[in-house]
Each structure stands twice: as structure tokens, then as C-alpha cells.
């Protein structure tokens, strides 16, 4: 696994854990975050969100084989 894929995997796993923590905490409290102070769940959901957006893109990297195959078959 190269460094880019490794970083992507770490970011994806970390992002999912942070995101899940925030969702569970939010469900228990009835809301995520607070109007007056930064809470761990609010930080977790934002950081997790960005990590989930970037992580899988780095991990998977190239275009899915299904799409590439379709393009190549049409190009002939």
C-alpha cells in the first residue's frame, strides 16, 4: 500500500469513528453541538465529515474499473 492510499485509509477510518461518535452523542442528547460553546461532538462531526470526504478519494484514487471498462468498450 503506498503512502497516499495508507493516508486515505487512516483518514476514512478516523472520519467514520468521529462521525459515528458524534451521531450517537447527538442522538443521546437530542442535538449535536451547542449554541454557546464548542463541544466534542460538534468538532467530531465537522472533522469527521471532511475526513470522510477526502479519505476514500485518496484510498481508491483512480476511476472505478466498471466505468473505465465501459468507456474503453465504447471507444473500441
Amino acid at each position: 500500500m503506498d503512502a497516499k492510499r495508507g493516508a486515505g485509509a487512516v483518514m476514512t477510518i478516523a472520519g467514520m469513528l468521529l462521525f459515528l461518535y458524534a451521531l450517537v452523542a447527538g442522538a443521546l442528547r437530542g442535538h449535536i453541538g451547542s449554541k454557546t460553546a464548542w463541544t466534542p461532538d460538534a468538532v467530531a462531526v465537522i472533522v469527521g465529515w471532511f475526513l470522510i470526504m477526502i479519505g476514500p478519494a485518496l484510498y481508491f484514487g483512480s476511476t472505478p474499473a466498471r466505468i473505465v471498462k465501459e468507456v474503453e468498450s465504447k471507444r473500441g
Binding site: A42, V45, W49, I52, M53
Partner: protein, 608 residues
């Protein structure tokens, strides 16, 4: 003229116009006779495939993307404001504009771009109007897109700050979209199974979002609005550089279900309302020139101002940029284009007609509206509604209340079904708004990259540095942020800086529609060589009608509205409108020269 009209009459008129327009005008004339679309001609998604922007998409996925991108708040707010004329004239403008102008404009922009390797309609203009036209057009559109970007950054930030459930939904939506993309493209699951899993999770996410709002307190001394603005800017940048198959396609595939449900439920509700004998209690016609707050409270004549009031719901220049920007680069088959381009516009028109005008017409003045308003926590607005009717709730409140009322009466009760549909309307609106933000960022990047194409052969290294996707998106987001972040005082109230020029946007956007349609009309005449008078006129006449309407509208706005705006907007918006009029005249001169050249070539060919 407050004569109650049975809801079935406008419903049948809208449905008939769309079905007939799609099959007879769209399919038989535009697709078969004018563009001569062919399933065997390879599209840029294949010929220029790059795995980032040029990627073929399933036609329903692409329909979802196109529809979600072209539909911002425009198809809702514009018709809601136009109800001040009564329901007849706005409905007529929506139907006429959709079938003969807007859908033609969107479809031809898409096909012109597809036949030019996925380049924007601005770059297509080079082929028919010359190189000068292309760069003037590109610069004009780039500036307009920056304004759209600033506005949608600001609107989303306000929405998330004021409606924390919308923020929760947005946070959940993107990871779900990435998951659906993974299931669709990288597992052996069938598309049906992937979709069902995605939809089940999405329904759960919407339910979660309604119950669990997401609050943030502001950051390092800045308030909630500005914190959201910074977060959204980060999102817009990221979403605009990620490959389309990764986030945009699966997200818009999911969006399509939500948005089709929204339109489908409105259609079912309108049928139910008609079957239950409900009537439109709004007047068919009020007056030709009512005073409208959005136009500095000045008397606003239906023509030409209606083109500036109802934009996306009838026709919009922004659509040509989407059609010839992200959509044309993902079109897998020329035969999909009619559904996406022409059908997408009709669907957006259905939002205006069936989800806004007909429901608001029904809910205009109803004694039992108080039940719905109290059920959704708007009991404080009951008195205003009873005194002034639905317009007292404002454009967005009027839309939500109209949608909820019509469906509550048609399908159940106002306190339960009506209240749920009121909230569903708000969620659908939030979905329209967020997708427009990142598509606008990607489109601004495309315009930036095309503006510098002259540099590519001269200095490839410099071109790569200036026009790569990261630079292009970063510059767009930075300028958009700079326009949305600072506050300025307008009418004694602090407002985001972009609002200094925002009053000019409606005219700028609709002028773009007129110029794009003229470009497409010239492409049809000069490049496709469709020179049978009846077919050529079918495009030329609506294009010229729109150009005259918008140009007269801009002149009316400059004379009658501009002097009544606050001083700072007179300078900002006034300058933009004057620039727009200058660009308008320059491009129309280049258009006439292009048309003369094409006619001379035709005459020479005939004489040979």
C-alpha cells in the same frame, strides 16, 4: 377578479402543455429535425474521458444532477413573488417560457456543447460569432458565476445558522452519497439493491436530522454565520475538485429521488385537490403593474419585468452554463439529452406551476389555514394571513404553507399530513440550494480554465499553473467568500457585501439566457445548417423575443427602479447593469455579423 377556478383546470393545462411540448416540439422538432441527435455519435464523456470531469453517467443519474443544479431557490421564490399579479399571468409565463424558450435554451446549449467537445456555450460562440465574442462572453459569465457563488455561500450559511436541522441533513447527506457511489461502482451489488440501501439510509438520515439539530457557536470571535461561511467554502472547494463519479454523481442520483418525490407529491396533491373539488381562491388577475418590494416598491409592469421576476421556473441563463458545463461532460448518449435538457426544464417548471402557483392559488385565503400554521409553529402569523392572505407569509413561507395546505386538504388533514408536507417542502428547498453551491464552484472553474486556453499553446507550464483545477477552484471560492464575508450597511441594516450588486443579478442572468439562446440559434443556422424557414424561425423568434424582453427590462429597471435603491446599491448594481447593457450591445453586434456571414455563405452556396 377573484372568481374561484376549479384546481383541475390549471392542472390539466400544465400537464397537457408539458406532454405536448415534450413530444411534438422537443422530440419531433428539436431532437429529430434540428439537432438530428444520434445514438451512434460518441459524446465528450467518452472521447475526452479524464476520470474527473468527463465521465459518462446513467441518464437518470445525470437528470438528477442537472435538475438539482439548475433548481436553486429561483423556481420557488420567483413565482411566489409573481402571485401579486394573480395566478393567471405567472402560470401563463411559466408554461410559455418553459415550452418555447427555457427548455429549448437548455437543450440546445447542452447539444451545442456536446458537439463542441463539452466546451461551454460561451466557447461555442467563438465558432459562430468569433473569438472576441467568446472572451467577452466568458468574462461576463465568470463574473456572474462569482456572484452566484457568493450568494449561495451566504444563503446556505444563513440556512444552516437559522435551521440547524438542515445542517444535520447536509452533514449526513455527503457520506451517504459516497457510500452509494461505493456500492454502485465498486461492489457487485446491483444498482437496484445499492439504490434501496442508499434510500433506506437517506430516509433514516432525514428522520434523524429532523430530531437532532446541529448547532455551532461561532469560532475565534466570529459569529455563527461567518463560521458556516468558512466551512461551506471549504466544502465547495473540495466538492468541486473531487471526481464527479465520487461525490457528484451518486449524490445527485439520491437527490433525484427526493426531488422527484417533491414534484410527484405536488402533482398527486393537485390531482387530489381537484378531485376534492378545491378551487383556486386567488384572483386570476389583479393589476398590470403592482408595487413589488423586490423592485424598490415601484410599480412593476408585467412585461418586461416578469422575465426578471420569474427566472429559473420559466427560463434562466444559469441553465445554459450547467447544461454546457457539468452536464455535457457526463452525457453518455445524445438520445439522453432531450430528457435531461428539455425534460429538466419542464420538471423545474412543474415545481413552479404545481408546487408553487397552484398550491398558493388554492391556499390564498382559506379560513382553516390557521390549523396548519399553528401545527407548524407559525401561530403568530395567523392574524396577518387572515388580513392579507398568503402573500403576508412572504415568498418562502407562502410556498411552504401553500404546499402543506394543498397536500393536507388533498391527502389527509392539515394538522398532520399538511404539517409534514410543510416541513418536506423546506427540506426539498434546502437540497436545491446546497447542490447549486458546489456545481457553481465547478462551473466557475470551467469558465476560468476556458478563459486561459489561449495560453496553453504559448506557455503550457504557465497554463498548467494558472488553469489547473485546484487554482481555478481556489480562486473562485476565495472571491466568492470575499463577496459574502464582509458586512456592509444597506438601508440601515448590516448585510453581506454581495448584496450591493445582487439587485442586478436577475437582469444579468436573464440577459445571459437571451445571449445563450441567440448563440444556440446561430449555431443551428450556421453550423447545423438548418435553413428551412419554419424550423429556423422556431428558434430565432423566441430568441429575439427574449432578447427584446430582457433588454427592455434592463432599461426599465435602470430608469424606474435604480434611482429608488439605497445609494450603495445604485453604485454597485447600477454599474453591473450598465456593464451588462454594454456586453449586450457588443455581443448582439457580433451576433448580427455572424448571421450575415452565414447568410452570405448560404447565398454563395446557392449561386454555385
Amino acid at each position: 377578479m377573484a372568481i374561484p377556478v376549479w384546481a383541475g383546470i390549471p392542472l390539466v393545462a400544465v400537464a397537457a402543455a408539458y406532454v405536448l411540448g415534450y413530444y411534438f416540439y422537443g422530440k419531433r422538432v428539436l431532437e429529430a429535425r434540428i439537432v438530428r441527435a444520434s445514438p451512434s455519435r460518441r459524446t465528450p464523456a467518452y472521447t475526452r474521458f479524464d476520470g474527473i470531469d468527463y465521465v459518462p453517467a446513467n441518464k437518470y443519474v445525470l437528470f438528477g444532477h442537472h435538475f438539482a443544479s439548475i433548481a436553486g431557490a429561483g423556481p420557488i421564490v420567483g413565482p411566489a413573488i409573481a402571485m401579486v399579479y394573480g395566478w393567471g399571468l405567472p402560470l401563463l409565463w411559466v408554461i410559455f417560457g418553459n415550452v418555447f424558450i427555457g427548455a429549448v435554451h437548455d437543450y440546445l446549449s447542452l447539444m451545442a456543447s456536446v458537439r463542441h467537445g463539452g466546451l461551454s456555450i460561451m466557447s461555442v460562440s467563438e465558432n459562430v460569432m468569433g473569438r472576441k465574442a467568446k472572451y467577452v462572453f466568458l468574462l461576463y459569465v465568470y463574473s456572474a458565476l462569482l456572484l452566484v457563488l457568493a450568494a449561495f455561500l451566504s444563503i446556505n450559511a444563513i440556512l444552516f445558522a437559522k435551521t440547524p436541522s438542515a445542517a444535520t441533513k447536509a452533514m449526513l447527506y455527503m457520506p451517504i452519497a459516497i457510500m452509494v457511489g461505493y456500492l454502485l461502482y465498486r461492489t457487485r451489488l446491483s444498482p437496484k439493491a445499492s439504490s434501496l440501501i442508499g434510500l433506506a439510509v437517506l430516509v433514516g438520515a432525514v428522520a434523524y436530522a429532523i430530531k437532532v439539530p446541529f448547532y455551532i457557536p461561532g469560532f475565534a470571535g466570529i459569529d455563527v454565520y461567518h463560521t458556516w461561511l468558512l466551512l461551506l467554502a471549504g466544502y465547495a472547494f473540495l466538492a468541486s475538485v473531487l471526481p464527479v463519479w465520487y461525490l457528484l454523481q451518486p449524490r445527485d442520483y439520491l437527490n433525484a429521488f427526493l426531488l422527484w418525490s417533491f414534484v410527484g407529491i405536488a402533482f398527486v396533491g393537485a390531482i387530489g385537490a381537484a378531485l376534492r373539488g378545491l378551487s383556486l381562491t386567488a384572483p386570476l388577475y389583479t393589476t398590470w403593474a403592482p408595487k413589488i418590494a423586490a423592485f424598490a416598491g415601484q410599480p412593476t409592469p408585467f412585461w418586461p419585468a416578469i422575465a426578471l421576476i420569474i427566472a429559473c421556473g420559466s427560463l434562466s441563463g444559469f441553465h445554459s452554463i450547467v447544461a454546457s458545463g457539468t452536464t455535457s461532460k457526463q452525457l453518455a448518449n445524445e438520445m439522453d439529452a432531450l430528457l435531461i435538457g428539455y425534460g429538466g426544464m419542464l420538471t423545474e417548471g412543474a415545481v413552479s406551476s404545481m408546487a408553487v402557483i397552484i398550491p398558493m392559488g388554492i391556499a390564498w385565503s382559506q379560513p382553516d389555514m390557521a390549523t396548519l400554521l399553528k401545527a407548524v409553529g407559525l401561530g403568530g402569523k395567523v392574524a396577518a394571513y387572515q388580513a392579507k392572505g398568503i402573500l403576508a407569509l412572504g415568498p418562502l413561507g407562502g410556498f411552504e404553507a401553500g404546499y402543506g395546505y394543498m397536500l393536507g386538504k388533498a391527502l389527509g388533514s392539515l394538522g398532520t399530513v399538511g404539517a409534514v408536507m410543510f416541513n418536506f417542502a423546506a427540506i426539498a428547498l434546502a437540497t436545491f440550494i446546497l447542490t447549486t453551491l458546489d456545481t457553481a464552484t465547478r462551473l466557475t472553474r470551467f469558465a476560468w480554465q476556458e478563459m486561459f486556453d489561449w495560453l496553453q499553446p504559448r506557455s503550457p507550464g504557465l497554463y498548467r499553473a494558472i488553469a489547473n483545477m485546484f487554482t481555478g477552484s481556489a480562486i473562485a471560492v476565495a472571491i466568492g467568500l470575499a463577496m459574502a464575508y464582509p458586512y456592509v450597511e444597506i438601508k440601515g441594516k448590516l448585510q453581506p457585501a454581495y448584496k450591493v450588486i445582487w439587485p442586478a443579478f436577475a437582469g444579468t442572468n436573464q440577459l445571459l439566457a437571451a445571449l445563450a439562446l441567440l448563440t444556440a440559434a446561430l449555431w443551428v443556422y450556421a453550423v447545423l445548417r438548418v435553413r428551412e424557414t419554419k424550423y429556423s424561425l422556431l428558434i430565432q423568434v423566441p430568441a429575439w423575443f427574449l432578447w427584446i424582453t430582457v433588454t427592455v427590462g434592463l432599461a426599465w429597471w435602470t430608469v424606474d427602479v435604480l434611482p429608488h435603491l439605497p445609494h450603495i446599491q445604485q453604485i454597485g448594481a447600477g454599474t453591473l447593469v450598465l456593464i451588462s447593457l454594454g456586453v449586450d450591445l457588443l455581443l448582439i453586434a457580433l451576433y448580427v455579423m455572424g448571421l450575415s456571414r452565414a447568410r452570405a455563405e448560404k447565398a454563395a452556396a446557392v449561386s454555385r
